[in-house]
Assembly symmetry: C2
Homo-oligomer: 360 residues x 2
């Protein structure tokens, strides 16, 4: 199926553009968006193969403190050695025309600095979640990107993932009737010595890292912003892992329509991240809801029973996400998950910690 | 397997006695405990067939405002017409030696009055949950039963049900490691004009009626009492059903060990009541957890995978529950779910409503 630009813009408005993006690009032959990947850790290892499978994006530079690792990965992705940067000479990226955007995949505390430096270098910014470690940083990132006239997108991959999009669509289409309540949880049993346990690097505990999926899901599922939030946090395992950040957070939210949501997150147990949505006419259950693949959606409403497994394998979410951001850059569109979306979560995270008596 | 009394007492202390009660009764030939059923509504329709399947209990009287209905049911259960009472002549039950205990299955607001009148008539009291509509009533019920030297048990059937007992045992045995977090929900989409929507009769909304299952489950699963509770309530459907009671409640609890729990309850959506328990070494999921039958327990820990469906059909929970109470009466034992257990839930329910800004 080949779409003309007007048709595509209409689909984009409906959030369906990503499905047709390959066809569009094949047609228009626009140059691919070149990404500089900043931070070559775990998540970059999903992003880079994802970019390989797009039609509109490519890896054109790497930024790392580990030259050897960067050289090895550069060879794999056809990145010239002259496009390998470190954290000292990063700003030289401004003079590299092969780099149109950066992908910030650093520990949370470094997101703001590198997003802002990238913006100043004139590069569009795709930044991993959580956007930052506090509200002020998030605001500064938005301001810097605005001042530099570059786009800022937060890498909320679930917004581009078909199982989550289908859950949203069922709710918006009224299949569940009036949504009343949501439960969601996400967490894992963390290994000692992870940077995520270092408050200075991570900002906080599991809420920043994985609880944010439940928080964000409650928002995209309802299409509302929470009006009230209350929370508890705790540390159970006195084994040295939780000297700086909390182990568990449990929180409830009330939305303007009256929808209530209750959520848990932990670094002390392997949870299959999930959500359940209860409506007056039916329910849906995504479980797993947040993994890189294997997502399963079950639902029951008005005599209909759904049980759908998304067969796409990792890194399919990263393909869709990169394709969306590159498409926005190429076409002057606002990303579905701009900096403002990340800022909102930072505000709610701050509120959850405040309610739980934790200073961040 | 035939147990002597000492062996049985030991099992009773371990909460396993109910499994062997038929064998014991067959052995000891004690007279059955005769129950007067007060209120012939929906739940009594489960209790009475349940009693039929016990070896130590029988239905010996009925109390109802609807004589015709009572006469019909009396014929079914072999209850003489002289043992049919109404709410005016109820106290005459004191002179009926065939009645050893009463089963209070009235709207919540009438529990206290009839439990206390039954105690004054010298009858043991098995009272449906919620125990009462407020703490003061619950305290008065306990005091009246103590003064009359009769036993008081709250009909928390899940405490006698194998799937729930297995979940508790897995946790106590350490199979899940250290429990970190629990999610639970229970609710249904209520029909208009139910007495449950009348605050005077019900005390409150879904928290009293079905949310209490999640509240109680978090307590029996952890074996702890919540130290902090916070909650939100809401009404979404302005269709006349929720002029007196709330439609939704969402609450979080923190337990002394640090375990956190997040729960929802609703009268606006059909929920399959469930709980998920996340521990450092594994998880368990009871879903459905609270239905009268069809309960399913799944768990994964230390390389073990469980998926067990309890094949027993309704009214099996009521059999186990009645057998337990009758056994306690016959043997001078304290029930596993005495008045004090109901009182604790009444205190937490009060705290949840207080936190949600609802006066009860």
């Amino acid at each position: 199926m080949i779409l003309n630009r007007r048709e595509f813009a209409r689909l984009a408005a409906l959030g369906l553009a990503a499905r047709f993006a390959p066809a569009l690009n094949a047609q228009t032959q626009e140059p691919k968006i070149g990404y500089a990947v900043i931070g070559l850790g775990r998540i970059a290892g999903h992003f880079m193969p994802g970019v390989l499978s797009t039609t509109n994006s490519q890896i054109t530079a790497l930024v790392s403190g580990h030259r050897d690792k960067a050289v090895r990965i550069a060879a794999e992705y056809g990145v010239p050695q002259s496009s390998i940067y470190n954290y000292d000479n990063f700003d030289e990226i401004a003079r590299n025309p092969a780099v149109g955007a950066v992908y910030v995949a650093l520990p949370n505390s470094m997101h703001a600095e590198y997003a802002i430096r990238a913006a100043k270098a004139g590069k569009h910014v795709l930044c991993e979640k959580p956007m930052s470690t506090n509200v002020a940083e998030a605001e500064a990132m938005i301001a810097a990107c605005k001042a530099a006239n570059v786009k800022l997108m937060i890498a909320y991959r679930c917004h581009y993932e078909p199982t989550n999009l289908k859950a949203i669509r069922l709710i918006r289409d009224g299949a569940l009737g009036k949504v009343q309540a949501i439960e969601s949880a996400n967490g894992f049993n963390i290994a000692p010595r992870e940077w995520r346990l270092n408050k200075k690097l991570a900002g906080g505990g599991p809420l920043f890292d994985v609880g944010i999926y439940s928080l964000n899901a409650c928002r995209y599922l309802t299409g509302e912003e929470p009006s009230q939030i209350s929370a508890y946090a705790s540390v159970i395992d006195r084994d040295g892992r939780f000297n700086q950040v909390e182990e568990n957070v449990s929180w409830t939210m009330k939305f303007p329509s009256g929808i209530v949501a209750s959520c848990n997150t932990t670094y002390g147990a392997n949870m299959t991240g999930f959500y359940r949505v209860h409506g007056s006419k039916g329910w849906l259950d995504a479980n797993p809801a947040f993994y890189y693949d294997g997502l399963r959606l079950r639902a029951e409403f008005s005599g209909t029973q759904l049980d759908e497994l998304n067969p796409a394998r990792d890194p399919s979410h990263f393909v869709l996400q990169a394709e969306h951001f590159s498409h926005c850059i190429q076409n002057g569109l606002e990303p579905k998950t701009p900096g403002e979306e990340g800022l909102r979560d930072m505000r709610y995270i701050t509120e959850i910690y405040r309610s739980a008596g934790i200073s961040i």
